[in-house]
């Protein structure tokens, strides 16, 4: 099976600062790939490069067989990529339902609509008219995921969806990932919690100082390999 997403020699620059160095990553249709690494390793930069929200990139970004590296963010989203951004990035003064609808406006049409999101996250369904800024962290994260799902992506990019949440809420959120997968969605999970990342994914890639330091099937990489590639030797 061919790759749904393929990065070849991706570089990301912020002005003169070279943040991501020649990264190669591929994610197959239906696969969950976890992307791990220490703070500042370049995980978020990589995801933002895929969606088209970094100042300058070089290298190839192939999605569904086409090079999308020259396309705008709205074009990439409407072709089937969605991002759950780091820090959630909700619209604080819009209601839950309005936040979700935004995803519906920018994404492609498909099987996921408001009803499906409310079914996946019943907690949101009870609070449709509540402003996003008045929600708990866990509920906000559900809105951020729901908003991305409303785009009916083929590839969902999740940037630290467990950040700042209690273990109970994290478990709740991770429980829905298989259901999202059932909709045929591939995923790249950026995650600090390594054990969780490994158990939720088929493949893992580790970044160290802007480079891929380890890549392999999640069930086959050892703790020692990860420790070494996470912090460098």
């Amino acid at each position: 099976m061919s790759a749904l997403l393929e990065l070849r020699g991706l570089n990301v620059f912020y002005g003169a600062f070279h943040s991501v160095h020649g990264v190669d990553i591929s994610c197959r249709e239906g696969e969950v790939l976890s992307l791990i690494g220490a703070n500042g390793a370049g995980k978020s930069s990589t995801l933002r490069a895929i969606i088209g929200q970094v100042p300058r990139v070089t290298g190839e970004i192939r999605f569904a067989g086409e090079d999308i590296s020259r396309r705008t963010t709205p074009e990439r989203i409407s072709s089937g990529i969605a991002l759950v951004p780091e820090g959630r990035q909700l619209f604080p003064n819009l209601t839950i339902e309005e936040n979700l609808k935004i995803g519906g406006y920018t994404g492609q049409k498909g099987s996921i609509g408001l009803a499906e999101v409310y079914e996946i996250f019943p907690a949101l369904s009870e609070r449709r008219k509540q402003l996003a800024r008045l929600l708990s962290g866990g509920q906000q994260q559900m809105v951020a995921i729901g908003r991305a799902l409303m785009m009916n992506p083929r590839l969902l990019l999740c940037d630290e969806i467990s950040l700042g949440l209690s273990p109970k809420i994290i478990a709740e959120i991770y429980e829905v990932l298989p259901r999202i997968r059932d909709h045929g969605v591939s995923m790249i999970l950026v995650e600090q919690d390594i054990a969780r990342a490994l158990s939720a994914s088929d493949h893992v890639a580790c970044m160290l100082e802007g480079r891929i330091s380890l890549a392999g099937p999640s069930s086959e990489v050892s703790r020692e390999q990860i420790a070494a590639s996470y912090f460098g030797e």
């Binding site: 909700l90 819009l94 935004i102 920018t106």
Partner: protein, 287 residues
């Protein structure tokens, strides 16, 4: 006593015109995040266009008003897309300077085209007509039409911004522009649509103002000042707040004028300043 009530009613109705002046500015400050210094001049340009449509082309006043609306929308859209959009990507001061330049250009353009004379559009007697409200209280038909138009504009804007997908997207951009980019909203296009809405309020303002009062190419700055005071007074929480703000300024002017006719405009500014000192966030701020 009747005289006083009469004056208050006139002031409330005048507040409707002030609210229409201010609605466009409220959108540009609240959604597009900049003060358009040329707002008043764009209104006056619409008044002059109204003059041309009625006097030179002989269109009936209601038809001319309807023609102005798409023109206003188009001008707003083009200004945002062609001019403000480019400046906004530079920095915030630059865009205000650009609107300042636009203001000078419009004023001089109008001066060149129409001369410095004071003008007014005549609407076939409707300016003079009045109807009996109750007892012996009368209200002018034109002020009533203007007030009702203000209410309709507010209802229309709220419907668009709160009930349509387009409106939700525009509010999302106003709320969190960085997030809007990450989820793929088309900022440039949506902001141009918001500016087209501003343009519609400018067209309606200019059209109605041309029948209500005299205007000349330099009238824009006083319109901008009123719009500015109304928006600051109202806060950015609701369009109905803008109507209340307009009424407050109009009432202050009316009472000031009763004390001394020279005091009329000043009274509006003083009430604005006093309320601003006590409530800088406005009477109806965003919650």
């Amino acid at each position: 006593m009747t005289g006083l009530l009469d004056q208050i009613i006139q002031a409330v109705l005048l507040g409707g015109l002030y609210a229409i002046f201010a609605l466009g500015l409220a959108i540009s400050v609240g959604v597009l995040k900049f003060i358009n210094v040329a707002h008043g001049d764009l209104i006056v340009a619409m008044s002059f266009l109204m003059l041309t449509l009625t006097n030179s082309l002989g269109l009936p006043v209601p038809v001319a008003l309807i023609v102005l609306i798409p023109v206003g929308a188009g001008v707003g859209w083009l200004l945002q897309f062609g001019l403000f959009q480019r400046a906004a990507s530079q920095n915030e001061l630059q865009i205000i300077l650009i609107t300042f330049g636009l203001s000078v250009i419009i004023q001089n353009g109008l001066l060149g085209l129409y001369g410095a004379d004071t003008r007014k559009v005549t609407a076939g007697g409707i300016e003079m007509a009045s109807i009996n409200l109750f007892g012996n209280i009368n209200a002018g038909v034109l002020p009533l039409i203007i007030f009702v138009t203000a209410c309709l504009l507010i209802v229309g804007l709220e419907q668009i911004l709160y009930r349509t997908g387009l409106g939700i997207q525009i509010r999302a951009i106003a709320d969190a522009p960085a997030a809007a980019k990450l989820v793929g909203l088309r900022l440039a296009g949506l902001m141009a649509v918001a500016m087209a809405m501003v343009g519609i309020t400018e067209a309606v303002s200019g059209g109605l103002m041309s029948i209500w009062t005299n205007f000349d190419p330099s009238s824009g700055s006083s319109r901008l000042l009123i719009a500015f005071e109304v928006v600051v007074l109202a806060g950015l929480g609701s369009f109905w707040g803008v109507l209340v703000g307009g009424i407050i300024i109009a009432l202050a002017q009316t009472f000031g004028g009763m004390i001394d006719s020279a005091f009329q405009m000043l009274a509006g500014h003083i009430v604005f300043l006093v309320l601003f000192l006590f409530r800088p966030q406005g009477l109806f701020p965003k919650t």
